[in-house]
Symmetry: D2
Subunit: 364 residues, 4 copies
């Protein structure tokens, strides 16, 4: 059953496979009158583009977005915005035994079990390339949020055992230039350097590393999130877990709350400059599923890239035990390119709920 749409008021529908004709998204429900350009969207796509970074695959995709509808005279018209990113560098006929072998850590077996067969070229729909459509759609959401004074930023906060040191940067206001200035999208240059060395060692061993992405939302007013199933954290949970390779989502203190006591975990309210404020933000800006006016803090744990070059044991479609050697182009770590996916998915989820919240009462 259909599962390629996300959002209820602002809705994206994505399509496309890694090595098909292209990738795209339709954004429906965007209010009319939002100024938007292809360049604005392109800047987000460029952040997830392979090839530009030391630890990304050498595949060279132009990844140029084209807007096909829904924009007139530089502004959204209120009608669906269709965008496409045509594939240009896909190679054909070169999949070897990937057509019939189930790669460990991948969805190959699941797709065959589900659909009876699959487009095996480059992972088909389960490829990370699928996220290009989301990023384009999320860029529109980010543009909408900008107009409403809400800003979203994601960065890599850990690669394997190397963790950014929050004494060296402001975790709520990391410097975008620093993040963009290193191959690992980390706001702490020292950690970035250390992580780069760690990855080089792993690559020498034909191995890969896990990573963590942190995402911050600033400027979100209190009251956003729809009880009881479309709570802000619930929708964010779906949004972030829908990104491939995510194995944990945390809000605020996350898993650390298990060991916490109520007296320390409760964020006391107080008045600051006439605004209801909190002395701490263990909650990560969400209480009872509704934004409380503080920064939203989300963390996503990405598993190590499953495509590693060392030989692995697995099975094939004929249900035989086989050994597999993966070749081709694969990042040794997922977080650096996925950070913009986390950022744009978060932006989309927040924009949808912000619009939904506009009808919460008869009088405003």
């Amino acid at each position: 059953m259909a599962g390629s749409s996300f959002g209820k008021q602002l809705v994206m529908t994505t399509w496309g496979e890694s090595h098909g004709a292209g990738i795209g998204a339709v954004v429906d429900g965007c209010p009319a009158g939002l100024p938007i350009t292809e360049e604005y969207i392109q800047a987000y796509l460029d952040r997830r583009k392979p090839g530009g970074r030391d630890f990304a695959t050498p595949r060279q995709e132009a990844d140029r977005v084209r807007i096909l509808s829904g924009i007139f005279e530089g502004k959204t018209t209120g009608t669906p915005i269709s965008m496409e990113i045509m594939n240009t560098s896909q190679r054909s006929g070169d999949y070897g035994n990937l057509a019939t072998t189930y790669r460990p850590g991948h969805a190959d077996y699941g797709y065959d079990a589900k659909y009876g067969f699959r487009d095996y070229r480059g992972g088909g729909r389960s490829s990370g390339r699928e996220t290009a459509g989301r990023v384009a759609a999320g860029a529109i959401a980010a543009r909408l949020l900008e107009e409403k004074g809400v800003f979203v930023q994601a960065y890599v906060s850990a690669v394997g055992p190397v963790r950014c040191d929050t004494s060296r940067f402001d975790p709520l206001s990391p410097d975008p230039a620093v993040i963009a200035g290193n191959a690992l999208s980390m706001p702490d240059p020292a950690a970035a350097e250390e992580a780069a060395n760690y990855l080089k060692q792993l690559m020498a061993k034909q191995d890969s590393s896990g990573s963590e992405v942190t995402c911050i939302v600033k400027g979100l007013p209190a009251g956003v999130g729809e009880p009881v199933f479309d709570k802000l954290d619930a929708v964010l949970g779906q949004a972030i877990f829908s990104i491939g390779a995510v194995k944990a989502v945390e809000i605020g203190d996350g898993t650390a709350v298990v060991r916490a006591r109520g007296s320390e975990n409760n964020d006391g309210f107080y008045m600051k400059d006439g605004i209801v404020s909190k002395k701490t933000n263990h909650a990560g800006g969400i209480l009872g599923g509704i934004s409380d006016g503080s920064e939203i803090v989300i963390r996503a744990s990405f598993k190590p890239t499953p495509s590693i070059f060392r030989e692995q044991q697995t099975v094939n479609r004929a249900h035989e035990d086989v050994s597999l050697s993966i070749r081709g182009r694969h990042d040794p770590v997922i977080g650096p390119r996925a950070a913009v996916v986390v950022e744009t998915m978060t932006a989309f989820a927040i924009a949808d709920l912000l619009l939904r919240n506009e009808n919460s009462r008869m009088e405003r």
Copy 2:
């Protein structure tokens, strides 16, 4: 905008406030012919019922479920199943300054910011009591899963610093009798005893503790989950984060994947008794958002109960700094009563996706 429904093929809609007339749920889309009784549902509700356990509030609610529609001659008819659990012990007029004061760690401020006012009686819709409706709905899903050979079980795996020791029980097949046999719903009696002592110490200090719930799904075939936004983990993420007080959701190895290497995190496939199997299950049974035939492993981190009895600083509706002393009935830990909520929400999400998967191909 409406957010009280969950699921797409199998849909629950819940309603009700803590101290209103009652709590209920409507389950729509359940296939006809499923045998179900009020007793079956009641058994699930009894597991979240307050009053039956040392560390639960002394509030005495009969919490009797009544089925009002959708069942005829002991079986579902395919039409909506309406269930209600009337409130019987709500007290009135005894809310003191809770009507105007924002409790730290609660949604009070968020509700006022969103709706302009709120039903302050016992937390209204944001009360944990809201989950009674979900549990009733999820019990129907669990019944449906039983028929299809799928079983879901949740238990408390940690309370504060006390963690169950998996050398003392089978974490994939915990003994339900052991779990039901201690006040903390833990499958490891020694841990349960230690946790009980820990909680008693906290209660003496008018404090509360965080906790962790683990949920296992067995018997789920490969292929369940809808790319790309309704992936199995994405839907579970929404389901579990929609439960109050959850601050992290993990699948399989969860946050530990950040430090892992691909060579150790990849679960190698192999043939076992003619079945595609995996040597390990770091993935927690989900690859690329689709079930892989292994056990699904989910963990939810619950924050400490925010209602603690020691005096706290906060603000009120008039935006004044005030101090607050909470009285009444409050559990010192959330996990033990929430385990059945995690279990039934998981069951509902799985049942919905299992039904959705039945249309995945033209021929079966």
Copy 3:
């Protein structure tokens, strides 16, 4: 698959069978702060109540609505509003061969074909009694529309060959007192009298009559309706066709447009008192699926009551040809009791689209 919910921003979910415990509805997504009382809703229910009119079944249901949630201190809280109307007069064990025989003109055969069995008591879910839930939900929508200056009114415009004469009343502003003052809900007393005589003749022959209901919406601003599938007429089409026994829905001139010419069917715009107005309203207030500021005019054609007392030929569950004699309580015409259903379904559809339209642009 679930089909018991209607609306996207304002959503109703209905439940209940004719002879089960009761009938009800949950309305989710109603903005907070709308004043509403049980009495307001009851007044709508009383209009569809059997027993109060000469041409309605003698079944005596108190049909008292009870609000169970979502209202606090007389106003909506923004959380789901659950309402129930318990069945009080259902008789049991008296269904004779209706349990196994497919009544002509009814859904009995369809339900068995679909679900494998059915609740045969009084038609179960396919009974006209199901509409009680919709009427309660629609009454809330009507209350919301009132606040926004929009008013909906439905009346019976024809019974068999007897048609109201628009030279005797204002078809856009019929007198509610006149409509309520006759057993057939007609705004033209002379037509009502003639229709009553016609029905008496049919009843003597154990027969029934078709009827037509007209519904007018006043005060709806231009711009309501969502291209391209949730156009105003498309959503009204679903809403009205979802009422049992409706076989045609017309907007404005309806079927008469087939014979019309463009030069006469086009409603010319002109400025009147500074407002964009139309000289005629062949369009029934909807152009391209969007309201144009004129009155919305809808007509629904109801088939004759299928439950007639004369003997009919049909088949049974065992697939044998049998003859059937229906006894019990049945109206000889559907429109008079269905008018309020058309009115409230229209109100619900319009309220949903009015709320949805509030996000149509960035700036208002």
Copy 4:
């Protein structure tokens, strides 16, 4: 709010404006393994293509569909099918006062009222050209229905006062070759000739005509349709009313039921060759919102083309009374090109409900 998607299990999302880059649709939820080609879809598009018929606009669009995703090795993969039809002949800069003038009978005023401005080029999103996306999507549904033995056919049954004579053709099995063989898509050649003469007279007077399209569904099993809001007729009602210019939708006897008596309107069931059959089909194959195994019969009344060449009075964006002369390319009647739109929307609605029905019971 988003309104560009239709269907629940099988979902189409359409995009595109008349004079933008192109038109397209994404179909999500199509089961894997359905053989489909661009040629199959193109044949449907060719039926709505302008230029090929005497009474259609001379605009020459190649209207070539391209499938961008979701098909691999000639079969659907279960992932979203993206299709686009690029615009090739749009002219620019030649809209004169259409940018600021509200055409009578069109959605221009509604779009401005709703969105604050509009893409005025060729009607933008409200153009009939929007239906190209639906036809492509509906062609996939028709292909799916074929596999399940269900066939849909639409034809023009009336143009102005000229009505096909059912004594001259089988209204339930019209000859596709005859329909394709005349410019008006009528199954009765004599009526087609008479209608052609009628239209020529109107064109000479710079006028246009209304029309009626009839659509037949054969082979649909009993049991399809989801109570109570997604009844078969309700979903068809939405589907057909969502097509521009439709002012009435009828099922079976349609508006004629108002004058009918129950004894004549009830279709008696009887056994025929071991199958539950009906002696008549006044119901048009739908009872209580569920298919009864008979042919589904739908009629849509199309208003006359609103774009006529004679001068009309209207208003402009500045709210001034102005006169308007429309030039360009406009059909004098809508039905002949819209028949395939009715057919494909019907196919899509039926296919969605057929898939939804597959989960109606635990055991089949």
